[in-house]
Every structure is written in structure tokens, then in C-alpha cells.
């Protein structure tokens, strides 16, 4: 690699690291300029709502993001998220913490099982977690008895969503605490570099002494716990759990992960970036809500955004653009 190309790569890396912040600033500018062009305003409650929305899907995005950073992709995440809610409601009727513990245990177990199979066999995560998604979705039908499970203890939800310092709630603070924990673990321990090394080039990471199999299993175990905890908190908050949440939460999570600077190729990304992606996307949802746009339009916009981001991330598109630039430069 020449000095010139090295500096170009470094410049590109820095620019990528800035993307989550730039997106958040852009969305915040749109949100807080609402009164100028729509006659609607971002109230304190709207900001609170943004963090509540971020709390709902934040842990789902964190889990998915970690699996992408380690070079895999967890399609079963949304089914485990739903299962977490169902188990929390089913087992937490009298003891909410027991419900959360059962949910987290089941999520971790399913995550570890899938991660362990991947590590032991070398199978790609796509078919395995797709089959896992379908199997767990079936399990969700059975746990829910083909219906919606209602949670009778309203007090838990009211406490979880009660305002703290104006903009936050115990639920959003729990989620921020998990993000902070992961950020610190990836920043100050060997976990961060090892997860990124495994995601970037598994063979090279293994040759450098990284226990890649154990690491993939650990990441899937932790991701499963994150999905289940997110689902449990959401179920307590809404006092109900459904067996099928559709794919919209998953689309939200993946979009937030990519906006948050995680490379779909693996090996790049941080918990802070994912959190910023989640907050930016939640803020965008709040803007849509303030504009009173119909739900399908919000879903459409989110999907179009995901399509745009994944197209920009496409490796061969970047290659084609570079080749085109080089051709143009040589002509000039």
C-alpha cells in the first residue's frame, strides 16, 4: 500500500466514523427547525418520546449490530425479541424480575445455541438464523397460545416509563446503561479489538491467537440476552406481548446499525455509533409523528432509507465509482 493510498484509506475511515454524528446533527436540525416550515414544534414531551422509542428498539439494534461487527447477521433477533416479551409476561406476573430473568436466560440460550452451531460447523449465519427465526416464531405462537398475552401489573410499566430528569425514564436509562457497558467493554478490554478482528478476517484473527469460535458464541449469547431484555421491557411497558411483531422493528434496527457506522461486511462499528444511529432514527420517527404522517408512509421512508444506506455500502459500487473516477482523472 502506498503512502498516498494509506492516507486516503485513513481519510475514508475518519469520514466513516463521523457519519453517525453527521446524520444525528442533520436529523436534529430537521427536528428543531420544524416550527420554521411546518408550524409544529419539538416539545419536551417529543424529546422524551424520542428516547422512549430509542429504548424500545435500542437493545435489538445493539444485539444485531454486535453480530454484524463480528461478521455474521442474526435474522432470528426479532423472534427472540418477541419471545422475551412473551416469557416476561408469562413468568413475571407476580415477580417482574423473575420474568425478565427467564426472558434473558432463554434469549441467551438461543443465542448461544445458534452461535455455538456456527462456531462448531462453520455454517453461515444466514440460513441458520433464518431457520432459527422460523422455529422461534413457531415457539412464540405456542407460548402465546396463538393470542396476545396481557400483563396485569400496570404498575411495572408505569414505573418503567415514568419521567426521569425530564427527558429520560428508567427504561431508557437501563438501555443506555447496557450500551455504556458494551462501549466500555469494547473500548477498554481486548473484546473490542478481537470482535472487530474476527469480523474483518476470521482466519487472520484465529492465526493471531483470537479464540474466534468462543467469541462468536459469546457475541450471539450476549445479543440474544439483549433482544430478550429489550422485548421484556417493551412488553412490561405496553402491558402486553404479541407473538408476531412483523419485520418493521428489524428494519429499524438494521437501519440504525448501518447509520451508526457499522460495516455490513463486518469488522467495523462501535456501541456508541449504534446508539447514535438508534437515537437519530427515533428522532426521525418523532418528526414523522409531529407531521402526523400515516404509519405506512413512515415505514416506507424507513425502508427507502435502509435501501439507500445498503446501496451506498455496496462494495462493488464503491469499486465502480473509484474506477470511473480514475478513468476520468486519466482522461483529464
Amino acid at each position: 500500500m502506498t503512502a498516498r493510498s494509506r492516507s486516503a484509506t485513513e481519510r475514508q475511515r475518519r469520514l466513516r466514523a463521523l457519519i453517525p454524528f453527521l446524520v444525528l446533527i442533520l436529523v436534529a436540525a430537521i427536528a428543531f427547525s420544524l416550527p420554521l416550515w411546518s408550524g409544529r414544534a419539538m416539545t419536551g414531551f417529543a424529546v422524551f418520546n424520542t428516547f422512549q422509542n430509542a429504548a424500545t428498539l435500542g437493545l435489538l439494534a445493539l444485539g444485531v449490530g454486535l453480530t454484524v461487527i463480528v461478521g455474521e447477521f442474526d435474522l432470528s433477533s426479532i423472534a427472540i425479541f418477541a419471545l422475551g416479551g412473551l416469557l416476561a409476561v408469562r413468568f413475571g406476573e407476580t415477580q417482574p424480575l423473575l420474568g425478565v430473568a427467564v426472558a434473558i436466560g432463554a434469549g441467551g440460550l438461543l443465542g448461544a445455541l445458534q452461535g455455538g452451531i456456527m462456531a462448531a460447523t462453520g455454517i453461515s449465519s444466514v440460513p441458520l438464523t433464518l431457520g432459527g427465526f422460523i422455529a422461534i416464531a413457531g415457539l412464540n405462537h405456542i407460548v402465546a397460545n396463538e393470542g396476545i398475552l396481557a400483563y396485569a401489573d400496570y404498575e411495572v410499566g408505569l414505573w418503567l416509563d415514568s419521567p426521569v430528569a425530564g427527558f429520560f425514564s428508567p427504561r431508557s436509562l437501563i438501555v443506555v446503561a447496557v450500551f455504556a457497558l458494551v462501549w466500555a467493554a469494547m473500548r477498554y478490554t481486548r473484546l473490542g479489538p478481537e470482535i472487530r478482528a474476527t469480523g474483518a478476517d476470521r482466519r487472520a484473527a484465529r492465526a493471531s491467537g483470537v479464540a474466534t469460535n468462543g467469541l462468536v458464541t459469546l457475541v450471539f449469547l450476549f445479543a440474544g440476552m439483549c433482544y430478550a431484555l429489550g422485548g421484556a421491557l417493551f412488553a412490561y411497558s405496553t402491558t402486553a406481548a404479541k407473538y408476531d411483531l412483523g419485520l418493521d422493528p428489524f428494519i429499524f434496527a438494521v437501519t440504525a446499525v448501518l447509520i451508526g457506522g457499522v460495516s455490513v461486511e463486518g469488522g467495523r462499528g462501535t456501541a456508541l455509533g449504534i446508539l447514535i444511529g438508534v437515537v437519530a432514527l427515533s428522532l426521525l420517527d418523532t418528526v414523522f409523528l409531529q407531521l402526523a404522517l400515516p404509519t405506512y408512509l413512515v415505514d416506507l421512508a424507513r425502508a427507502a432509507l435502509l435501501l439507500l444506506v445498503v446501496m451506498i455500502e455496496a462494495p462493488d459500487l464503491a469499486r465502480k465509482v473509484s474506477a470511473w473516477r480514475a478513468r476520468r482523472a486519466s482522461r483529464g
Binding site: 460447523t121 453461515s124 444466514v126 405456542i142
Partner: protein
């Protein structure tokens, strides 16, 4: 890889044997399974999954894993077909196929040409299609104009027209994959994308072709779905059509990483899925059990096929 070599070698035959024994045992102990009516019902139920699975096979062989947009393509195509019926049956049919092929082609360009992540692209594409379908239909069910479409529900020799169309589709696509340069390119790209690029194969064109065919096959399924239900809305997408198609392709032995798989073998997978669904329904199991079983079968086959490939490699 820490799986013993003997397990890797024998996983697939053992799994096939186990599934066969289970299915045969379940068939003999399920009242009403061995009847002509039930055999017709099983064949009829292969129409929608079979058509989608034909396209899914091409996608998997081309190395683009799977598409999670094909079931939505089928549903939205059913809506387009119903909405266009005032143009006449044939124009509505052709226009629906063309629209679905075009939508597939765009995804194929992004996935095949630019190497974008197929799972994310197709999930997003499905959501965009659903959003547009709601916007254009205003969320209401689309009912057909006239009765011309009913010819698609006609029966010949006890089987609906869709079964014959599926058989023709399978033969045509299988022949195209075996006998044309396009078919060979799809296999080569799926087997080794980097080598295919080095050999100057048109990756974008292959991607566009594969996804356009998959889109058209799904549209055909949608056209028959709409006709069968005498109306169309996004509610048609509530089942497990897309997942059944993926499971069928995996059971048919296609390699998830690409390069291997045939449409004919996928049809065996389609029949297995249809028999499993039929048995589960006849035995009165819940939807949850049905979905759980399909998921487990899919995981088991994906694993077994993967282990067999590792042995060969």
C-alpha cells in the same frame, strides 16, 4: 470446524432417512392421508410455494443467498393483477409479470452488480413494495373486474391449471439452467464470484436476469393466489410462503453459498414441505407447531447440506 468427519459425511443421508421414516410413519398413522382427494390437495398446495421456489433456487445458485422479498412480490403482484383486470386477462397477466420482473431486476442490479447485502436489500425492497401497495390501494382489498380470471382456477384431470403451469415453468427454467450460457454463468458466479469477475463475466447482467426471473415467477404465484382467493390484499402475505420456498430449496440440496442446486430437486423439497404441512393439518396441530417444525427442518437441512459440502471441500 470441530465436527467429526464421519458426522459430516453421513449427516445428510441420515437426515433424509430420518425424515423419510418420520413422514412415512406419520402418513400411515394419520387418518385420511392415503386418499385421492388428499393427494390432489397436496399437489394443489405446491402451486404457490413451487413457483416462488423456482425463483428462489436461481437466487441461491447465483450466490445471493435468498430473497426475503419474493412473498411480498407475489402478494403485491396479485394486487396489481386484480387492479389491471379491466385491461383484459392477457394484458393484465403480461403487465403484472413485467412489473414484477422489473422490480426484481432493480434488486438484481444492486445485489448482483454492486454486491450489496441480499438480505438487507430484499427486506427493504419488500417493505418499500408493501408501503407503495398500501399507498396506491389505500389499504383496501382489490376485487376483480369480470370473470375472465376464473379460467386460472379451472381443473383438468382433477388438478388445477396451476399445477400444469408449475410443471411447465420447472421444465423451462431447468432447461434454461442446463442448456444456455446464462444458466452456466449463474452457476459460475455462484460458485466463485471473484473468479467470475476475473473471467469478465457480466455479474450485473446475471444478477438482473436471476432476480427478474425470480420476480416473474413470484408474480405468477401471485396471479394464481389472487385468482384462487377471488381478491387480493396484503393479507395474502400472512402465511409462510417465502419461508416455505427457502426451506424447499434447502431440502432440495442447493448450496446456500451458491454454485449448486437444481430446480427439479427443489420441487422434491416443495413436495416434502407440502406433505409436512398436510400431515400437520390433518393431525390437528396448531399453526405454531407447524411453523416450529418447518423451522427445525430448515435448520437441519441447511446444516446437513453445509456439512456435506465441507466434506467435499
Amino acid at each position: 470446524m470441530i465436527v467429526p468427519a464421519s458426522l459430516r459425511r453421513h449427516a445428510l443421508p441420515v437426515l433424509i432417512g430420518l425424515l423419510t421414516v418420520l413422514l412415512v410413519a406419520a402418513a400411515f398413522t394419520t387418518p385420511g392421508f392415503f386418499t385421492l382427494g388428499n393427494a390432489q390437495a397436496i399437489l394443489t398446495s405446491t402451486i404457490f410455494v413451487g413457483m416462488v421456489a423456482v425463483g428462489m433456487t436461481l437466487i441461491m445458485v447465483s450466490g445471493s443467498f435468498v430473497s426475503l422479498a419474493l412473498a411480498t412480490t407475489a402478494t403485491v403482484s396479485a394486487m396489481i393483477f386484480m387492479a389491471l383486470l379491466p385491461w383484459g386477462l392477457l394484458p393484465a397477466l403480461l403487465a403484472t409479470l413485467l412489473v414484477a420482473a422489473a422490480v426484481g431486476a432493480v434488486q438484481g442490479l444492486v445485489i448482483g452488480g454492486w454486491n450489496a447485502n441480499p438480505i438487507i436489500v430484499t427486506i427493504a425492497a419488500a417493505a418499500v413494495m408493501e408501503g407503495l401497495a398500501i399507498a396506491l390501494s389505500k389499504g383496501v382489498t382489490i376485487n376483480p373486474t369480470g370473470l375472465d380470471y376464473r379460467i386460472l382456477n379451472e381443473r383438468f384431470f382433477g388438478l388445477p391449471l396451476g399445477v400444469y403451469v408449475l410443471a411447465l415453468l420447472v421444465m423451462a427454467v431447468e432447461a434454461a439452467m442446463r442448456l444456455t450460457a446464462f444458466g452456466r454463468m449463474v452457476h459460475l458466479v455462484g460458485d466463485n464470484r471473484n473468479a467470475a469477475r476475473a473471467a469478465a463475466l457480466p455479474l450485473g447482467t446475471v444478477g438482473i436476469g436471476v432476480f427478474a426471473i425470480a420476480g416473474a415467477c413470484s408474480a405468477l404465484a401471485g396471479i394464481f393466489m389472487g385468482s384462487f382467493n377471488h381478491s387480493a390484499s396484503l393479507l395474502l402475505n400472512r402465511g409462510t410462503l417465502g419461508y416455505d420456498a427457502i426451506a424447499a430449496v434447502l431440502i432440495g440440496g442447493a448450496a446456500i453459498g451458491g454454485g449448486r442446486g437444481t430446480v427439479l430437486r427443489t420441487m422434491l423439497g416443495v413436495i416434502v414441505i407440502a406433505v409436512v404441512t398436510d400431515l400437520v393439518l390433518l393431525r390437528g396441530y396448531t399453526t405454531g407447531t407447524q411453523v416450529l417444525l418447518k423451522g427445525l427442518v430448515m435448520v437441519a437441512f441447511a446444516l446437513a447440506v453445509h456439512l456435506r459440502q465441507e466434506t467435499r471441500a
